[in-house]
């Protein structure tokens, strides 16, 4: 179980490095899928089953799909894939950086690269995490509306900034 969590965390970091290595948006979205899926698995290991479900349904199934459709509309003829030289160099650099940070995390009971500490607790009926979500919908009140408003603003901001597609200033980057 510990090993499973370790692998999932590793997958999260590799996915983030793939996003940061500046490929074309299609492949960056692929990296985001990897981050979300691996992170979701890790949250599940820690007991947060509802968050995990929400992440998959709303983030991947809602936001990322809309993003993918929008990006496909202003599509790139020759997208920079993940196997391009510049992208690979950036990825190796970022993974090296995380490796350096990981080297500093050593301790007596967690020698080289085994510093990941699992948190296993007993099964409980009262899940703090699901309680939190129901609180936000119940006594949260205005906070829920504010979060919804923030999402709406984010949508309008994205639409306004990218207005005009290729006639405007936002262009596909090589």
């Amino acid at each position: 179980m510990l090993y499973c969590g370790y692998l999932l965390m590793f997958g999260v970091v590799v996915g983030m490095a793939a996003v940061a290595a500046n490929p074309s948006p299609f492949y960056a979205a692929l990296g985001l899928v990897m981050v979300a899926a691996m992170g979701c698995g890790f949250i599940m290991c820690l007991g947060g089953t509802f968050s995990c479900l929400v992440l998959f349904l709303i983030y991947l199934g809602g936001m990322l799909v809309v993003f993918a459709y929008s990006v496909a509309l202003c599509s790139d003829a020759l997208p920079t894939g993940l196997a391009e030289g510049s992208v690979l160099k950036s990825m190796v650099g970022y993974l090296g950086l995380t490796g350096v940070v990981a080297l500093f995390q050593q301790s007596s009971e967690a020698p080289l690269f085994w510093w990941f500490v699992g948190q296993e607790s007993e099964m409980s009926v009262m899940q703090g995490e699901t309680e939190g979500v129901s609180e936000a919908y119940g006594s949260g009140g205005i906070l829920l509306l504010t979060c919804g408003w923030a999402l709406l603003v984010a949508l309008y901001v994205a639409l306004e900034v990218s207005r005009g597609c290729s006639r405007g200033p936002v262009r596909p980057i090589k």
Binding site: T146, W149, Y156, E160, R163, P169
Partner: protein, 348 residues
Amino acid sequence: MSPYVLALLLFSLGLGTTMTFASSHWLLAWVGLEINTLAILPLMAQNHHPRAVEAATKYFLIQAGGAAVLLFAGTTNAYLTGQWDIQQAAHPLPIAIITLALALKLGLAPLHSWMPEVFQGLSLTTGLVLATWQKLAPLTLLLQIQPVNSPLLIFLGLASTLIGGWGGLNQTQLRKILAYSSTAQLGWMVLVLQFAPSLTTLAILVYIAAATATFLTLKLAKATSINMLAISWAKAPALVALTPLVLLSLAGLPPMTGFMPKWLILQELSKQELAPTATLAALTALLSLYYYLRLTYAMTLTMFPNNLAGTLPWRLPSHQLTLPLACLAIATISLLPLTPAALALVAL
């Protein structure tokens, strides 16, 4: 821009700052800061010019990075002290991280490099919003954290007054000068933060009045560089006669209002037995005074050589509201005698 979208964005700007003001939880403070960042992006990029979009991109990356570090520090604080309250005493490590994150968001030296480039890409109105409204929320958070990291705050303050003064010396573009000016003024505010927070409040209020007056003057004169300032005297002679006083108020020269915060801050620093700090702050203010004087010289004190046809431009009817400019210019010039009342107002 569609008026509905503009209304939504302006409302969100207000909502974000208000949320950060009203929150006692680090998460909600972060939400307010992020809403502010998001809402101003289309306003910055609204004319879809590549330079404006570049400024918006740089602003977004800096602010998002600062907000992420702030959230990380809030989470670390929750892990170390067990609570999320902003006003409860926090662990020193998150305090230091929060101070640096807010310094990045405010544009304090040595985290100031984004300011001139972002300001240069914006219209004067959006630059005004960036220099005044967007400073309120991070400054509020800085005012509330305790116990403060004293050497860090003094270092940020002195570095900002020094680099804000020094960096603006070589600029001819007015928006970059105002960016460095903003850094320098924020340095003064941060210097006195740990000793007399009411003086920080006073300083930001006086700065908002003075900066708004300056930006609105430049907008009316349609001037974005010193050369354009030089030919603006014929557009609004009465305004051009008053602008030196507004600029020197920004510089902190008596008898204008801008002297008030600097005076009181120097007094407070001396009371705290930080005489070298106070001296250094006063000396670095001389650097900014020089470029304010240069603007004054170019605009009012000198008539640049020009042919006769170039001296008098067409004065077309302006659609700019002049009441805010008039009120703020008078406030910036003449409110120094009200110092005791101002102190009573901000003593929170």
